[in-house]
């Protein structure tokens, strides 16, 4: 059982006697020392659990303060002041200066219950001190992390006032700008940016800052001590990525230019020969030139598809959004898909209800995605049917779901997660694939994602597959 050390700092023999009498036999050990500097030092060395301070130690009891204990390296133990009976003023002064309790001398009442309460308070105080030191440490650590970040970071109030900027942010925007409106200081605007007006929660955005570099920002909301949500934002310099993107774009543009030029020349000369501009060809010669032309056209399609795939997969494409309907999108590809299916002797069904809400999409791109997925379905189905269906999901802000289902070979269970990967092909692919195999589904997924939708697949091997995409409803 723990023995509590109680230190009496004072020289009143009656107090010492009274305490000794009461604490005898209990789990307490009394230590007495004079209330001078040496006495305090000596007691501090014993690390007592409770201190009794006799106010008679000071010629002016009103000057009581905990400071002298702190100076003597005491560990913030609870302090009970011992005052002469009737000196109420001193007693009040002690309490307001940080003493835990006060007892009057000569000591007549039982002391142990008072000591127990003071010890409990001391224990609680210790825990409180520990917690607040942890909080302080964490706060300082967070501040140090923010301050030392190479990336700009700042905190703004709900009213868009800058509360904090780290060094990296000050290097970009200048010092002494706290209190200013973030949209003015950072972006020279007269009103808050749309991203902050639109999203009340965490957000992501991209911005070109005053140093000419491009940053991707992420922000989070943190509640301050008064319960208000402050926004903390950190920007990451993505200028190098942008430059690589630019080089990539120029490269692709030049390569495609240089690929198209000879393709175009071959096509021209084949046409000239076929049109008889250099003299009539015989049937055999015509057949040969037609093969040249057809192969050249296939090469052309391959090049165009690769360039297009590259653009889409690197995110370098713009959507031409318009208000349209699933039916209008389907009309763009329906005839071709129907012919493809019927060529293989498959039933091709399209179910698009008239009352579906309008959609807001890039018509050509969505048609491309539907054609890719349906084309796949036809390719991998030898008998049965391919069905395209559209429906409305009122959940959230409302979405249209378009599903393409087939009775084809299906996708092996272990491959279901991989079908959207670049260059994925079903093992032992027995179907001849004209256009650069393995890009269609990746491209389709990027297109659907760019519209804020989702594309996913279900399949049972040997039974069939279903691909579903969601599209944004207009309004």
């Amino acid at each position: 059982m723990k023995v509590y050390k109680i230190a009496y700092l004072g020289e009143d023999k009656d107090v010492i006697l009274a305490l000794e009498r009461e604490l005898k036999g209990a789990n307490f050990k009394l230590v007495a020392a004079p209330g001078d500097y040496n006495g305090i030092r000596k007691v501090a060395g014993l690390n007592p659990d409770l201190i009794l301070w006799d106010l008679d130690n000071d010629p002016e009891p009103e000057s009581f303060s905990l400071e002298r204990f702190r100076r003597a390296d005491m560990k913030g133990q609870p302090v009970i002041c011992v005052a002469r009976r009737g000196s109420v003023k001193s007693a009040v002064r002690c309490i307001s200066s940080g003493a835990t309790d006060i007892i009057f001398k000569p000591i007549q009442e039982p002391f142990i219950p008072r000591a127990a309460v003071a010890l409990n308070i001391g224990e609680l105080q210790k825990r409180l001190n520990w917690s607040s030191s942890v909080i302080d440490d964490t706060n300082n650590q967070i501040k140090r992390i923010l301050a030392n970040l190479k990336d700009p970071a700042y905190i703004v109030s709900p009213e868009f006032h800058i509360l904090y900027m780290n060094r990296a942010a000050e290097e970009i925007f200048g010092e002494g700008l706290r209190g200013g409106a973030c949209y003015t200081v950072f972006y020279d605007r007269s009103e808050p940016c749309e991203v902050c007006l639109k999203s009340k929660g965490p957000a992501r955005w991209r911005a070109v800052l005053k140093n000419g570099k491009t940053y991707r920002f992420v922000s989070a909301l943190v509640t301050n001590s008064s319960g208000e949500p402050e926004k903390i934002a950190i920007g990451i310099d993505i200028t190098p990525d942008q430059e690589v993107k630019k080089i990539h774009k120029t490269f692709i543009s030049n390569v495609s230019h240089d690929l198209r030029t000879p393709i175009s020349t071959i096509d021209q000369y084949a046409s000239i020969l076929l049109d008889g501009l250099t003299g009539e060809l015989n049937e055999e010669q015509k057949k040969c030139v037609e093969v040249i032309r057809r192969s050249n056209f296939r090469l052309f399609n391959l090049v165009e598809n690769l360039i297009d795939a590259n653009r889409i997969l690197s995110g370098d494409f713009k959507l031409r959004m318009e208000i349209t309907s699933v039916r209008e999108v389907m009309d763009l590809v329906l005839d071709k898909l129907k012919a493809q299916a019927e060529d293989k002797g498959l039933k091709f069904e399209v179910e698009v209800p008239d009352e579906l809400p309008r959609i807001y999409v890039d018509k050509a791109r969505i048609a491309q995605a539907i054609a890719n997925i349906t084309g796949n379905a036809i390719k991998f189905t030898d008998e049965g049917r391919v069905q395209v269906r559209a429906g409305y999901m009122p959940r959230d802000e409302g979405r249209i779901i378009v599903s393409v289902e087939d009775t084809g070979i299906g996708i092996p269970r272990e491959d279901l997660g991989k079908v959207f990967d670049l260059f994925y092909r079903v093992e032992g692919d027995r179907v001849y694939v004209e256009e650069g195999a393995g890009l269609g589904l990746s491209i389709s997924r990027e297109i659907i994602r760019a519209h804020g939708g989702t594309l996913w697949a279900e399949s049972v091997e040997g039974v069939g597959s279903a691909f579903h995409m969601t599209l944004p409803v207009y309004g």
């Binding site: 230019h257 198209r260 175009s264 096509d267 000369y269 049109d275």
Partner: protein, 132 residues
């Protein structure tokens, strides 16, 4: 009598492209269609011939040595004797902003290589007949 284009009533087309094979193919096709064809293989030559030969139509490539297509169009559209000659751009680039730039500078049509022969010939006829 000398068979000059003026005398024969043939319309004259200037083709400016550094791809000589393509220029030859076009001149075969356009010649067969009854046009008188002159050729230039760079921007500078194209401008000189445009002034000297006064063609009824100019077909110009975008990427050429000694002054690319845009600079040629710009010069032509600011020249007193050349500003009314219709221009058709023929390029292997397919960036939308290039086509837009060509249109803004004053090109009548913009074709991307490889092109559809019939559409191309229709555009040539329409550009020449609509020219003032």
């Amino acid at each position: 009598m000398v068979d000059t284009p003026e005398a024969s009533g043939k319309k004259r087309i200037l083709i400016a492209d550094d791809d000589k094979d393509l220029v030859y193919a076009l001149s075969l096709r356009l010649g067969a269609a009854g046009f008188d064809v002159i050729c230039a293989n760079d921007g500078e030559e194209a401008l000189k011939k445009a002034v000297r030969e006064k063609p009824d139509l100019i077909i110009v490539d975008i990427r050429m040595p000694a002054g690319g297509g845009f600079s040629v169009i710009d010069h032509l559209k600011h020249g007193l004797t050349t500003r009314d000659i219709p221009i058709i751009v023929l390029t292997a680039f397919d960036e939308e902003d290039l086509k837009e730039r060509a249109r803004v500078l004053g090109a009548k049509f913009c074709f991307r290589k490889p092109f559809n022969d019939r559409e191309f010939m229709d555009a040539i006829k329409s550009a020449i007949t609509r020219a003032p």
